[in-house]
Symmetry: C2
Subunit: 235 residues, 2 copies
């Protein structure tokens, strides 16, 4: 971790449990967090509300949203009118690339975080990607993060001047159970996290559907951690 005067990092918060736990870990390690939430035209706009609540609970330095219209590019069940798959086992989820994959999403998010980091002279970017109990998305793997680190080192003023932004992915080697355990230790407000691909609105609150891939992985995490999920669920 950086020491000295510059310990600012841009933390990408999606509203889900992984990015919230990643941000909490980075904060625990001494980083001052500037949250960036990306409004990419997602079906689940509730995610942005969740990101805001999580940022408040983590007492971050700043919070901002940036809009990018990924719907204009199309191609995913998370931005378009494509059915989200339901009832798949956690094992089946890791096989192949699912329809919920948003093309190049993490590349776009990291690019925006890099722009924010460069503007604010922050030295880190925190994101909640995880390569173990993962969704089968190609942009959640260590090779990808390593490649993006080179982009940050070569394509920015800071990088050229010898202060490249570090890509911090503290969950990369953790299981979902590890993530829940560590999150609970650090006081992550899991009740405010929304990781569902297809949440249901009820009486003004958002409920997890309980049956999409993200809900299956979440359930697995809480089971492994022997803890109860405080977030409301429809089924």
């Amino acid at each position: 971790m950086e020491s000295g005067k510059n310990r600012s990092a841009v933390a990408l918060l999606s509203g889900g449990m992984d990015s919230a736990t990643a941000a909490a870990i980075a904060k625990h390690e001494g980083w001052m967090l500037h949250v960036l939430a990306v409004d990419y035209g997602q079906r689940a706009r509730a995610e942005l509300e969740s990101a805001r609540r999580i940022a408040d609970a983590l007492e971050v330095e700043s919070f901002r949203t940036v809009g990018v219209d990924l719907r204009a590019l199309g191609g995913s069940a998370l931005t378009d009118d494509i059915d989200v798959p339901k009832g798949r086992s956690a094992q089946a989820i890791g096989e192949g690339i699912p329809v919920t994959y948003v093309p190049a999403r993490n590349t776009v998010f990291l690019a925006l975080a890099l722009a924010a980091a460069e503007t604010a002279d922050a030295r880190g970017i925190v994101l909640g990607v995880n390569a173990l109990d993962y969704s089968g998305y190609p942009d959640c793997r260590p090779d990808f993060l390593k490649a993006f680190s080179r982009v940050a080192a070569t394509g920015t003023k800071q990088g050229v001047e010898g202060n490249p932004v570090k890509i911090l992915a503290p969950l990369i080697e953790m299981t979902k159970g590890d993530i829940v355990r560590r999150g609970l230790e650090l006081g992550v407000p899991f009740e405010h996290t929304l990781s569902c691909y297809d949440p249901v609105e009820k009486d003004g609150a958002w409920l997890h559907c309980g049956r999409c891939d993200a809900c299956s992985l979440r359930r697995k995490g809480f089971l492994e951690a022997d803890a109860e999920d405080p977030a409301p669920r429809a089924s």
Copy 2:
């Protein structure tokens, strides 16, 4: 160059002369172009109109714009209310990183083009970066493009499946004079290109200011090519 059935490429058009010439070269080499113009909240919104006219003249397969609010991230004379420098020599322009640099702009643009390419199963991304007579921006250099190619190879479905998108930067080793000469040979509609950082509106048309860094480099290109710039200029 790719041969066989898939010769589609996403071409980033900024409205300027470099990206227009890069697209014309790629088309001449047999690529079918799908244009992506990024609306990043630039001061010079006229750039998008220029991109549209250039795309029409090049008879591309498709044209779309995608919005991303880089103003929300701030930090450049091209998106914020910072004065654009005027009257600098072409030699002085390459020294240091100027205030017109938009943080991580090419990273953001390439990320969006990658998302578009992945959605459309295109195999190339064309952009007009140039490392010789260049603006001093770090994200215009070969090292950066190489790093981004690794991002495309590791972070996308196509890349993982062995069909990574190629980053095509045909101008990378060309002087401004070379670019103008090649563009004229290929019929690039230079009269529709707008490369100025601070264009002036007059009688419904946009004029180049003639004094910003981009105008100085443009003038140098036409001088070297011994050709007359058909685009209107205020001074």
